[in-house]
Amino acid sequence: MGFFLEVLIGGLLAGVLYSLVALGFVLIFKASGVFNFAQGAMVLTAALALVRALDVFEQWHWPFAVALLSAFVFAAVIMAIIAWAAERLVLRKLVNQEGIILFMATIGVTFFLEGLSQSLFGADVYPLNVGLPKDPVFLLESLFDGGILVNELDIWAAVIAGLLVAGLALFFQRTRIGRALRAVADDHAAAQSVGIPLNQIWFIVWLVAGLVALVAGTVWGSKLGVQFSLSLLALKALPVLILGGFTSVPGAIIGGLIIGAGEKLAEVFLGPSMGGGIEIWFAYVLALLFLLVRPQGLFGERIIERV
């Protein structure tokens, strides 16, 4: 029982990290109907900007807190520039085009960002330390023999993800801009007619997605080091989105948890009988099965077309 719980909790905590990446996709999809393939590249860019700026500031012997804060501000500014450029140079030219065309455009943005960020900030593996504790801890030692082994970093990641989701929920549900974002998601023309400027809204939503990417990049970077493979997280977010639904913030969280936990449990309990290594593809099979049963995802909006 203790071992099962340990695997389950480890999986759920890993799932939180998938959720963080999936969140960025959901935000942009909700507000503009664009599947932003570049979200992974944005995570990479944000993490690279953060880690390199932090290195430089530390070389200048700034106090750690100041250096860290300045590095975050620097990375946030980079994400703002990317959001501005994406709106100005790509989206604005493609207003009212088919979803697939916008999707192709974001693939272009992906390659561009991957190249640009690596030539600006370097292409090595950079260890990132933002002061999050990384020690393994044992929980519930009184209940189970030997307790449950958990990494503190994963717990912090879960706390950060929780705060982020709460903040986003308040932003979307309570504020004027949140309401405007939901309006734009539903109908572009109608939103414009009530005085919502599309361009500004798109900039805001890409900026928010960029900041979410920064958070995801910080947590993933702390865990694995900042490296090119962060960009491939986009592929891992795909099954999460299929499970949770492309339009639901809670869906991204629950989807991430299911994928994370399912992956680990499958690896440990099914893996040995199937020759192991199933963690890599298990998520995709789960997503495939899910598509057959509930194509709109757990929390996605059901699309009913009137004919």
Binding site: L170, I177, A183, A190, V194, G195
Partner: protein, 263 residues
């Protein structure tokens, strides 16, 4: 209804010989007309005559290649839709364009988007000035909901409402902005008789009670002749008639366009 006494003098909006084409297709050719403050102005014409295009020009969705539009004495160039909204022009759409996932209340609240001013942080927490502002806007929205008699569907997501009610919510959202000029694109299309009568009543009441100037496109001739002060008649992108209902009704060019005389 036709005997409403009016003294319409001030011009609110004037369209001066605008032409609009999409590639080689001419949608509008050399159209001029004006809308006076406080009147109900109807645009009529057969299908494809360019009525919606004309409305889209006024609202800033399209920009005519030639001619000019003057609104409240100001000539405007390449105005965008949200700027039109800022200057007091609200509209509804031919194919209902509501925010389907949101409730009736939230839909109408978006209409007040422009009037909201407090900072994001306070809004998120519903504290201090933001709370007072939210309450004020809610009051205004509730008045509109009462006015349109849609109290019972306040919390229902509009995607689930029947067509006639959706049209009413869309009118509500346009009214929430307290516009000076209200553009209605076929507000009664696809409605049954009872719904049409309700909608007519709302349009007239809006005009009477709030003094809103209204420009509407409508196919139902009975309705148009009843409620509008003046008509513009379009056919093939050209203006073929302009004047009060009685005059237009007997105009030969208009009768030809509607009854079909070989061109």
């Amino acid at each position: 209804m036709a005997d409403r006494v009016r003294s319409l003098t001030d011009v609110l909006l004037s369209v001066e010989s605008i032409s609009l084409s999409f590639g080689g297709v001419k949608a509008l050719t050399d159209i001029s007309f004006d809308i006076k403050k406080g009147e109900i102005r109807a645009i009529i014409g057969p299908n494809g005559a360019g009525k919606s295009s004309l409305l889209n020009c006024i609202n800033g969705f399209y920009h005519p290649q030639e001619g000019a539009i003057t609104y409240k004495g100001q000539r405007r160039s390449r105005m965008r839709p949200h700027e039109a909204a800022e200057q007091g022009i609200a509209r509804t759409f031919q194919n209902i364009a509501l925010f389907r996932g949101m409730s009736t209340l939230d839909n109408i609240m978006t209409g007040r988007n422009l009037a909201m001013r407090t900072g994001l942080f306070w809004q998120a927490l519903r504290l201090g000035p933001a709370e007072r502002e939210e309450i004020d806007h809610r009051k205004a929205v509730e008045r509109i909901i009462d006015f349109l008699e849609i109290q019972h569907i306040r919390k229902v997501p509009v995607g689930q409402l029947p067509y006639g009610l959706q049209k009413r919510v869309e009118l509500g959202r346009a009214l929430a902005a307290e516009p000076e000029l209200l553009l209605l694109d076929e507000p009664m299309a696809g409605m049954n008789l009872e719904e049409k009568e309700d909608m007519c009543r709302f349009v007239l009441d809006v005009n009477d009670e709030f003094g809103t100037t209204i420009c509407l496109i409508e196919h139902d001739m009975g309705v148009v002749m009843d409620i509008s002060d003046r008509l513009v008649v379009l056919d093939y992108g050209k203006k073929i008639g302009d004047g009060p209902p009685e005059a237009v009704k007997h105009d030969k060019a208009v009768i030809d366009a509607y009854l079909g005389v070989s061109h």
